[in-house]
Amino acid sequence: MIRPFGSDEILFLFEAARWTSVLSLAALALGGLFGLAVALARVSVSNVLRTAASGYITVVQGIPVLILLFLAYYGLSTMGFDLPPLIAASLSLGIYASGYLGDIWRGAIESVALQQWEASASLALTRGQQYRYVIIPQSVRIALPPTVGFLVQLIKNTSIVSIVGVVELTRAGQLVNNATFEPFPVFLSVAAIYFIICYPLSLIARRLEAQFNAYRAG
């Protein structure tokens, strides 16, 4: 039986969009955590850590996020780890994000002038203190625009987890379309909701960038 595309269906899409947000946040949290570790390892004084981090970035960036998802969902289940779809999806998106965020943040850390390291070392700061008070605050300003840009990508890429049965925005769109067979209104609505989520992020990024740039106003 074919239903019309009405307010109930729109509501259903918005509810599903919550899972898109949850997935994005989980992937961001995981990816941010791993990514920071990867970035710091990538610029560490230890050769072993640097090589390992560089290898990790290369491998993760070289694998489609869909394959990461299949590995986490189907692959791990054959090894006895039966992860719920949402967890497998968060894990794979998190790993995917860490590969990119780690690289973006490495670049941002490396873009801080060597003299900043020398000046802070000469004031007897420990390496940790140098990162915390001198290097990271300067890197953040540089890293912010590409990070938010990647976050927007990440949000849109959560659509692939519809394949393992998580009813997020894209999957919900498919379900509604199957019931109403009105692909244009349905998927335009889906697109609009993605836009509603992503657009404010771009705005926030622009504002933050302006704020961090304030000290250069002179």
């Binding site: 003299q115 070392a121 004031l123 007897a124 700061l125 008070y133 001198v134 000290y215 250069r216 002179g218």
Partner: protein, 243 residues
């Protein structure tokens, strides 16, 4: 007892030996000008003195510390040995006062209010109290360099190193930085400076060290050295630079 003691210091970058056996002794309160052509090794020597460059052989004692590259030992040494750079190297994300406060707060765990008072005192010394809340990019080069000096002084070092601190400044701005340094010298601070300001070296430095090809070529009281340079290389150097 000397506050800086350098014995047979050698430093190579790859196969290039830049310092070929430097020995140097500085007493408390002395102001030592390190002079020489570019490539003579004077900046490298200065950077070795606070461990920014590791030495290939020899021995350094400074501010009561024997040079060691173990991180904790190096930090202990650097608490007592300040350095000011040619390119200022202020932290651009922090205001002038925050630049000065950072190390006392983070390294010495000075409470915020006390650190702020200390910062204001140090900024007062370099004549920049009114710029406390201004960011480095809004300061002139001379002002930035004075903040850098205040930042270094806030750690209450026993020895101060100055690495061509006026070389990046317009001529009209060098004076304000040199004045601060002269006052510091008058207060009894032990200072080693690499400089191209001959007049300043002659007038303010108690001792002048002329370096040539990685060695101390000629050294003595500034008065004697500038009055009667004994080597032809130093005579030539003075002749060339006073043109």
């Amino acid at each position: 007892m000397p506050i800086v003691l350098v014995e047979d210091l050698r430093k190579s970058f790859g196969s290039l030996e830049v310092l070929k056996g430097i020995s140097l002794s500085v007493e408390r309160g002395q102001v030592v000008a390190l002079l020489g052509r570019s490539g003579s090794g004077k900046s490298t020597l200065l950077r070795c003195l606070n461990g920014l460059e590791t030495i290939s052989s020899g021995r350094i004692e400074i501010g009561g510390h024997v040079m060691s590259y173990a991180p904790a030992a190096l930090r202990a040494l650097r608490k007592d040995v300040g350095i000011v750079f040619q390119s200022f190297n202020l932290f651009p994300h922090l205001s002038a006062a925050e630049n000065v406060m950072l190390a006392p707060r983070v390294v010495k765990k000075t409470p915020k209010r006390e650190a702020r008072e200390l910062a204001m005192e140090m900024l007062g010394k370099v004549g920049l109290i009114d710029k406390a809340d201004v960011y480095p990019d809004q300061l002139s080069g001379g002002q930035q360099q004075r903040v850098a000096i205040a930042r270094s002084l806030a750690m209450q070092p026993r020895v101060m190193l100055f690495d061509e601190v006026t070389s990046a400044l317009d001529p009209e701005l060098t004076g304000e930085v040199l004045n601060v340094m002269e006052r510091l010298a008058a207060e009894g601070m032990t200072m080693l400076l690499v400089t191209h300001e001959m007049e300043f070296a002659r007038r303010v430095a108690t001792t002048t060290v002329f370096m040539y090809k990685g060695l101390v070529h000629e050294t003595g009281s500034s008065k004697e050295l500038f009055g009667r340079p004994s080597t032809s290389e130093f005579r030539q150097f003075l002749g060339v630079t006073s043109d």
